[in-house]
Symmetry: C2
């Protein structure tokens, strides 16, 4: 149930001292034979782009989409760190490359943690050396642990395709992990796929899953999803590969939502009947990110008035007379008529809530996965220390 469940990959997780308190903070995932194989990535569109994201893009461009290893650290995002940050991200790749006997461009790099602090490179370099020695065909779970920040559990997934496997690990509580910035995910597969095919499959899988997840609407400086494909299982149907990647991403995204900082509810919010899919997604995302809506879920309060108001404020085509809102099977507002069914109170006590808003206007639809806003979320984000 980890990235190393895929034949031909090794991984390691070690403690090098970036994080206070001695928790694991450096991870490595590599091909077992140190061969550079097909690789692809999807990255944050935040313009305050962290150095490791810039270096990943450079390396994938230089190699035409090939990599032999991914090095990751937690506890420091290496973001807003200027020229020094770029040098440090490059050095992380060089140190990894030297330890594995590959080219620096064949190493990808991810960081997650505080923004605005230069990496302690002595610790990082000794950690890389130690992790390279510790690489193991059963090392996936230790790597998954070493990329955690405010996560309370590691996130891992394995999907069996038709004759191939996709495995993955992730960290993060959303688009953005508070303070400990970023969602990161590394996937591996033994399917054979050219870099271009792999990239298309990854983009499609991420669009349906990670990109429908929002905890606080913020997109981090470091968000990264990487995949490496060693080809050991031979060629596969591209559609089957896309499906398996999407399934692995869906599992990781749900694990993130269920472990989102301080959350007590995981909410599936579906919008249908919008003028377009894009308008459905805008209305769903705005509503999912509304503090007032999130507080009502935390309080188990079926206050759908908030949801109606957010839909009206989302800047999409909207007509109150055509609107329907349902919590699970309980319709609370239909075509201008409000209702407050008493059974709703019990429905609100579940960990997972299914909300459905139909705008009654067109064929556009979208789904988002989100969470509530709680006292514990504030506790986690009041301070960096």
């Amino acid at each position: 149930m980890s990235v190393t469940d895929v034949p031909g990959f090794t991984a390691a997780g070690v403690t090098c001292g970036i994080k206070p308190g001695g928790k694991p903070d450096l991870a490595l995932v590599a091909t077992a034979d140190a061969a550079a194989v097909s690789a692809a990535g999807v990255f944050t569109s935040n313009k305050m782009t962290a150095a490791p994201v810039l270096v990943c893009r450079e390396h994938l461009a230089a190699t035409g989409g090939r990599a032999a290893a991914v090095v990751l650290n937690s506890g420091n995002a290496n973001a807003a760190t200027g020229a020094q940050g770029m040098a440090d991200a490059r050095q992380m790749c060089q140190e990894t490359a030297a330890a594995l006997g590959v080219a620096a461009e064949e190493v990808l790099v991810c960081s997650t943690g505080l923004i605005g602090y230069v990496l302690p490179m002595d610790a990082v370099c000794s950690g890389i050396a130690e992790a390279a020695r510790a690489l193991d065909p059963d090392g996936g779970p230790r790597a998954a642990e070493a990329i955690m920040t405010t996560d309370t559990v590691p996130k891992q997934a394995v999907v069996a395709g038709d004759g191939f496997t996709v495995g993955g690990m992730a960290k993060g509580a959303a688009m953005l992990e508070p303070h400990m910035s970023t969602m990161l995910a590394v996937l591996a597969t033994d399917a054979a796929a050219e870099p271009e095919t792999l990239r298309s499959a990854l983009r499609a899988g991420v669009a349906q899953t990670f990109n429908t997840l929002t905890v606080d609407g913020a997109e981090s400086t470091n968000d990264t999803v990487l995949i490496v494909a060693n080809g050991g299982a031979g060629p596969v149907d591209p559609a089957a590969l896309t499906r398996a990647i999407a399934d692995a991403c869906e599992s990781l995204a749900l694990q993130m939502a269920d472990d989102a900082e301080g959350s007590t509810k995981t909410v599936f919010l579906r919008v249908t009947g919008a003028a377009s899919d894009a308008e459905a997604a805008k209305a769903a995302r705005d509503t999912a990110n509304c503090q007032l809506v999130k507080c009502s879920w935390y309080g188990q309060d079926p206050y759908w008035g908030r949801i109606a108001s957010e839909m009206g404020a989302a800047g999409v085509a909207f007509d109150p007379a055509r609107l329907t809102i349902a919590y699970g099977s309980h319709v609370v507002y239909q075509h201008g008529e409000p209702a407050h069914p008493p059974e709703l109170a019990r429905y609100m006590t579940g960990r997972r809530l299914d909300l459905h808003v139909d705008l009654g206007l067109g064929e556009g639809s979208a789904r988002v996965i989100t969470t509530d806003l709680t006292h514990a979320y504030i506790d986690e984000n009041m301070g960096t220390s």
Copy 2:
């Protein structure tokens, strides 16, 4: 220091029983002689528009911008209430008109409170009759009290112009008052101004003040700012009128920020050097509404990395190498170089924070007034009961 400090206006605030607990919940502001005078309004652009907003627009259109009275209730927003809600909002105007001997179209109406519940019209009607009897040249403070929802103090302002006066009252903690939806404001002046001039002055004043205030980024179903001008002081310079209206709105907006639900910080966030004023406003507003940024203010944590990240994610022209961020006089990030001055910790303990972000790209600038996100905010918004 109230709306009735303006000569020629009367007001009242009474308890009619919409709110549980016997707090005042119905207010009336009227011209002393029941004459219809110049009037103008600025309303929410939320498409889930509450009935009273729709009725105000109808009446201002029908009269060409004239009104003799404004009737307001708190405790129920009369929003998402369908055809019944429209009938009830119209009846509130009719009852007020009958009590004052004016035409129903000469009455404007505002509601604030829960969304999705039909008004208790028996209580509302007896309240209107009582308030009409209680109208008083010193009734402003009682009216200001009767429109409060989660406000802890009434908000009132008086501005002395050159030979004229603008007085006002408001309620609300932002663009949107949680649950008890809405910011409402009623201004009165004895300046003489044609409806068109009055509307221009009001729009300009609101743009510079209320529209720069955001607590949670949500725009309510009911947001309304009204002004009535009885002309008692004779004609005035339109620029002077605009300035006085803006000053009154600025005072009311600051009172709202300082009393925003559960807030412990009022934050003035200024963005300069943007490609345009619109881009500056977008970046400022997105950052002001970021839960993570708000939590850091609450924790008195000068974690500017969050602010840099939000600026990069705002979808505006941005270059990390040209960015400067300052907390008060403390520059924390300049042109790619991070800093963590130790004096910042003390700066963060103030009730009011001045943050300045310079994007270093152009001449665009904007300011927003906002607040932090606190445990008490969640407490206030977890439930409607």
